[in-house]
């Protein structure tokens, strides 16, 4: 083999070597978490350390799911809060994205203003009055107390993504529906909304992830343990268990991540578009 050919092969291999190293480093903490979660306690806290579990056990999971009552409650809270918020956001952004895309009024500037506010402004600015408001209305420590602000905070990018989805629909389709005598709302519901399903999928993915992992509002507004969502509740579990509790903590984290992994895998085709859309770069 000539030296030039060797050099060419090295040049082609270099990007792979670099990317595999980065990807492995990025995935490793989660792999280690998964390995820890299926090891028996004496392997987790034993010398010498085992990298791969010598005995694979689901005992940690069984304990977490059956005995850790608080954890089940956190999981239910996360499902209810995320589920209700996401449904509301999908409905409101499908409604609001339509006039933003297809009607003329000065809403665009306002919308971009809101997006800039939500992305750049530290949320603690909104959180302080929200805390006072919710305290006065008795909304702290309730599902509604998280659902309402979550809907508001995630609407701006949802509206942006849905606006792009409505812009992409050709006007002829709307005109044809109108000729058939459909009213405006009927046209929106039966003709336009089904055509925005890719936009709805992108919105679903983005707001599901954002709400499932939200910490600041949850830790501030849900001070009673029975209302806490998983990202806050698991921190609570750790505080109660003190230091060496990773045999309990690792399965709770894996279970907390499962719904997000499932959504991510099911909607993986929308991931790139979703990240770009959420950043305020939805296509015109």
């Amino acid at each position: 083999m000539t030296r030039a050919a060797q050099g060419g092969r090295a040049r082609r291999a270099a990007p792979y070597a670099f990317l595999i190293a980065v990807a492995a480093t990025f995935v490793f903490p989660l792999v280690w978490l998964l390995l820890t979660s299926v090891k028996p306690e004496r392997e987790i806290y034993g010398y010498p350390i085992t990298i791969l579990p010598r005995h694979v056990t689901l005992a940690n999971y069984l304990y977490v799911v059956t005995r850790l009552a608080g954890f089940r409650r956190f999981f239910v809270n996360s499902v209810v809060v995320t589920g209700a918020s996401v449904i509301l956001i999908l409905a409101l952004s499908a409604l609001g994205g339509y006039p933003l895309a297809r009607k003329s009024f000065p809403g665009k500037t306002v919308l971009f203003g809101f997006i800039a506010l939500v992305i750049a402004v530290p949320w603690v600015i909104y959180l302080i009055p929200t805390f006072v408001m919710e305290d006065a209305l008795g909304l702290r420590n309730s599902w509604l107390g998280l659902i309402l602000p979550y809907v508001a905070l995630n609407l701006p990018w949802a509206l942006l993504i849905m606006r792009a989805a409505f812009i992409a629909i050709p006007q002829e389709i709307v005109d044809a529906a109108r000729v058939d005598g459909a009213g405006e709302f009927q046209t929106w519901l039966r003709v336009l909304v089904p055509l925005t399903i890719p936009g709805l999928a992108t919105t679903f993915l983005i707001v599901f992830v954002f709400i499932w992992k939200e910490f600041l509002y949850a830790v501030t507004l849900m001070t009673e343990s029975q209302w806490q969502t998983l990202p806050v509740g698991i921190i609570q579990i750790r505080a109660e268990l003190q230091s060496l509790a990773f045999n309990i903590l690792s399965p709770t984290i894996i279970v907390a991540l499962l719904p997000i992994f499932i959504v991510f895998l099911l909607l993986r085709n929308f991931v790139m578009g979703g990240i770009l859309g959420a950043g305020g770069f939805g296509k015109e």
């Binding site: 792979y16 990025f26 903490p29 609001g96 009607k103 506010l117 805390f131 698991i234």
Partner: protein, 292 residues
């Protein structure tokens, strides 16, 4: 054709109502609060204090420490995250096989709740049984540092963790930016006999300038809004070494219930976000004119 109609407002009304009550109104109310003295536990209502609230915050030694920490943390974080996301995106465009799994691996931390990601790193760095410390003892035969207990180290340990959490977004927009560079530019460079480095210097990097503005604004904003990591890993300690501005604002408001001071320090943080974002975009667009 866009049509004018009043029914448009009906479709938008619910969304606007939500954003009005939980974004616009709180923002204005917070701005008012930032000029008041208002302890939520003791004071029945906010009392006007004018600029005194801002003076109190600026003179608080903990705030000053937090401001310094923000720079000590932000500069290495920004440099590493910016360079690494650009490099990963660029190398992803140079390979043909296994691009999707490699890309997803880098995006993956974005979907992990930061508070739970923090626990995973606590486990890796656990003094007795954490893998990093075991590896350190085995390979280096010395005692590993006490990562989060050391005032000199704790803040810097958070840098790679935050890079891990935040790399996805800049990487994805760099990738999108790289894919929109017209092939004709590269063809022209090839005709002019440009080398690999010449292409990078005169085609790729200048074409990425608008994307670089977006990535730097994002990274600056995220580092000034860092909250979850100090909350979970150190509670701002040891000796206030990991207090960030955002964490400071939160503790003023929700640990000491000084709502006025909390709002004032949050507005100072917001002002810094705007200032640094504007500065970074001005800097990048100035360089573009030089190159042209």
């Amino acid at each position: 054709m866009r049509e004018r109609s009043w029914t448009a407002l009906l479709y938008l009304a619910p969304a606007v109502a939500f954003m009005g009550v939980f974004i616009a109104y709180p923002m204005l109310w917070s701005f008012y609060l930032s000029f008041t003295r208002y302890n939520y536990v003791y004071d029945p209502r906010p009392a006007w204090a004018g600029l005194q609230t801002y003076r109190d915050v600026l003179q608080d030694p903990v705030f000053q420490t937090a401001l310094q920490n923000q720079f000590k943390f932000g500069i290495p974080f920004f440099t590493i995250a910016f360079a690494l996301s650009l490099l990963v995106a660029f190398t992803l465009t140079r390979i043909s096989r296994a691009r999707t799994p490699l890309q997803l691996a880098v995006i993956l931390p974005m979907i992990i709740p930061p508070s739970l990601g923090a626990i995973v790193f606590l486990w890796l760095l656990e003094p007795g049984f954490g893998l990093v410390n075991i590896a350190w003892r085995t390979l280096l035969h010395t005692r590993p540092p006490e990562w989060f207990l050391s005032p000199a180290l704790a803040l810097y340990v958070m840098v790679p963790i935050f890079v891990w959490e935040e790399l996805a977004f800049p990487m994805v927009i760099f990738l999108a930016g790289l894919q929109t560079i017209p092939a004709s530019l590269y063809d022209a460079a090839k005709v002019d006999g440009a080398s690999f480095w010449g292409e990078l210097r005169y085609v790729t990097l200048p074409s990425l300038k608008p994307t670089m503005v977006v990535a730097s604004v994002y990274l600056i904003t995220q580092s000034l809004k860092m909250f979850d990591l100090p909350y979970v890993l150190t509670q701002g300690g040891p000796a206030n070494a990991t207090f960030t501005l955002y964490y400071y604002a939160w503790t003023r408001a929700f640990k000491f219930y000084e709502m006025g001071q909390g709002a004032a320090s949050a507005y100072i943080t917001a002002a810094l976000i705007v200032l640094f974002s504007a500065a970074s975009s001005a800097l990048l667009s100035e360089r573009r004119e030089e190159a042209a």
